[in-house]
Amino acid sequence: MHSGLIIIAVIIVLLLARFGFKAVRRKQGKPELERVVSLPAGKLSPWRRKLLTVVVFSRLNTRRFFRDRLALFFGILFPLIFLAVFGAIFGKGTNNVSFSVGLINESHSRYAQQFVDQGESSGVLKVDKTVSDLSGAETKMARGQLDAAIVIPSSFGELKGKLPSGQIKVYYTENSAQAGQTLVSVIQAQFQSFNEKFVNIPTPFSVVGSQLTKKSLTEFDYTFSGLLGFSIVGLGIFGPINVFPELKKQGILRRLHTTPIRVWQYFVSTMISQAIIGLISLAIMFAVAISVFHLKVVGNYIEIAIFLIFSIIMILGIGLAIGGWAKNERQAAPLGNIIVFPMLFLSGTFFPRYAMPELLQKVTTYLPLTPVIDGARLLTTEGQHLTQIGPQLGLMAIWTVIIYIIAFRVFRWE
């Protein structure tokens, strides 16, 4: 059901992106041609002329992105697919224990029915309806599709004296021993409350669970900030390392090099358009995560946006460095993969870094993507402010300087 919603949301967004823009332009009537005023050269100050270059290049870059179906797919839809997959896995939250079981109910007593209903309505039991006997359940348990099988014998609920009685059997395999044993104690507790209704014996020792009100992070919160990082990497690194070699191959950059445009102008215009595209893409991810996976954003959206723009620009530098250096895709692709994939896994994109060995955690703290993901999480789901994530911002600033020094040094127009 979730994936259905996502697909609908994605289709709406893509339609808007593709045709919404067109509709707006149509409204303006005859486009660009008349709007552009011819200014004799030299009327603008040298600095304004340099900025004009940046503005026009970034505007056209952005436009081009939204016209390109392939770019839209990788820039917007692709991260959403990951979001859907990880959201479906982690989005349920980890608080509720539930077991998928095969239920073989041979009893017709109302007590048996009551037990089943209670188990199902509380969400503890997920009954696989296709299982009708123990051997069928065993096959599924062997495949790991079921945690356990519950057999309610026909004698369950028969009156013994004045009181109903019975014994349920829980079967589990070696692999699901933990789940099986937990299930046994859960059912035990359930029967306990049953029993108390029939015989009132005071219980000398008891335990009561009480949930603290302080909000804790769910696994999805970690996953979401990781996916933000993944999306930024997708746009900022995979974008340039695919596009630049192609531009060089066709001589498009070379042709640009015969004009007075400078590398910084080209970089800055790419930064601006990537920041715009990235923000749109990430905003869609936020929208889907909030509406479909119940992400609770407690931070300030403006601070989050500022932080994400900074992140996009820093990560883009890696793409500009690799793509700008590579003469062709045979150079770009391997170098890109060597840098990107370890970084994705080590910076906590797909699983939280706290699950790593301590030494690895210490080392990976300093990777460029790590402060992006940590910072995004701190701002988004932990409600911190930019002023509180100084270590992350500092680390990102250092990386930005290093990355862009390299990117400018190694850039080649052909």
Partner: protein, 255 residues
């Protein structure tokens, strides 16, 4: 007559070395303002490399190139403002409209342009809102010429502009080049079509193995050859197959 005017471009002993081999080996020539200057030669003669050194794309390993009083090696950035470049196979980024391409190149020079005017000059008005990937080869060449002229350059370099074009498109391109020259722009082009050079160029330099082996007007070069006693084996036809082709299919552009 051209030698009278002050040269707008002067190349002196240009050298380009790759792997210890001089692919351009002491090339010297000068071009006057308003001239169409051709560089001819077989593939690998060093034509394109010579052009690219003057276009600031390749470092000059020896000699000097001066355009409009500016030394190319000393101030490439200044040179870029006064030259227009038409590469051998023009390419543009997909999903960009023709008008936007013009805007983009104008912006590269820090200028705002009226795209339609430039597109009209090269007969691409109706295509203004198409994407560049939908253009034919000839149309791309024409668009490329428009992009090379957005900043009103003084010198226009074309590298084999008609390679791969059909006869109609070639003729159209020749007209365009002449129009550009008539506006006072100096044109320097490479080609390996002799008919093209003979028709378009005021003077040609013939290159082979990185060296200029002849430099004069086409008419004078032919005269020199005839004076050496050269005779064509067969009688010259009054018309060529190309004349037949154009007569049958017309001069109108097909793309």
């Amino acid at each position: 007559m051209y030698s009278m005017a002050k040269p707008i471009l002067e190349a002196k002993e240009l050298v380009k070395t790759y792997n210890d081999r001089n692919v351009v080996d002491g090339v010297s020539f000068s071009v006057s303002k308003g001239e169409i200057f051709g560089i001819l030669g077989p593939n690998g003669a060093g034509k394109t490399t010579t052009l690219e050194m003057m276009e600031t794309l390749r470092p000059i390993d020896g000699g000097t190139a001066v355009i409009d009083g500016i030394n190319v090696a000393d101030d490439p950035q200044k040179i870029k403002y006064i030259i227009g470049v038409q590469p051998q196979s023009p390419a543009f980024q997909d999903k960009t409209k023709l008008t936007e391409i013009i805007e983009l190149f104008a912006a590269a020079y820090g200028e705002q342009a009226r795209p339609m005017e430039f597109l009209r000059d090269v007969n691409l008005e109706e295509k203004a809102s198409s994407y560049v990937e939908n253009l034919s080869g000839g149309q791309k060449q024409r668009l490329s010429i428009a992009t090379a002229l957005v900043h009103k350059p003084k010198v226009f370099f074309l590298d084999e502009p008609t390679t791969g074009l059909d006869p109609q498109a070639r003729r159209n391109l020749w007209e365009l080049v002449q129009q550009v020259r008539d506006r006072g722009v100096t044109v320097i082009m490479t080609t390996h079509y002799m008919d093209e050079a003979e028709l378009l160029c005021d003077r040609v330099a013939i290159m082979d193995n990185g060296k200029i082996i002849a430099l004069d007007t086409p008419a004078q070069l032919i005269k020199n050859l005839l004076s050496k006693g050269f005779k064509k084996k067969e009688h010259v036809e009054q018309a060529t197959l190309e004349d037949v082709f154009i007569d049958l299919t017309g001069k109108a552009l097909r793309d």
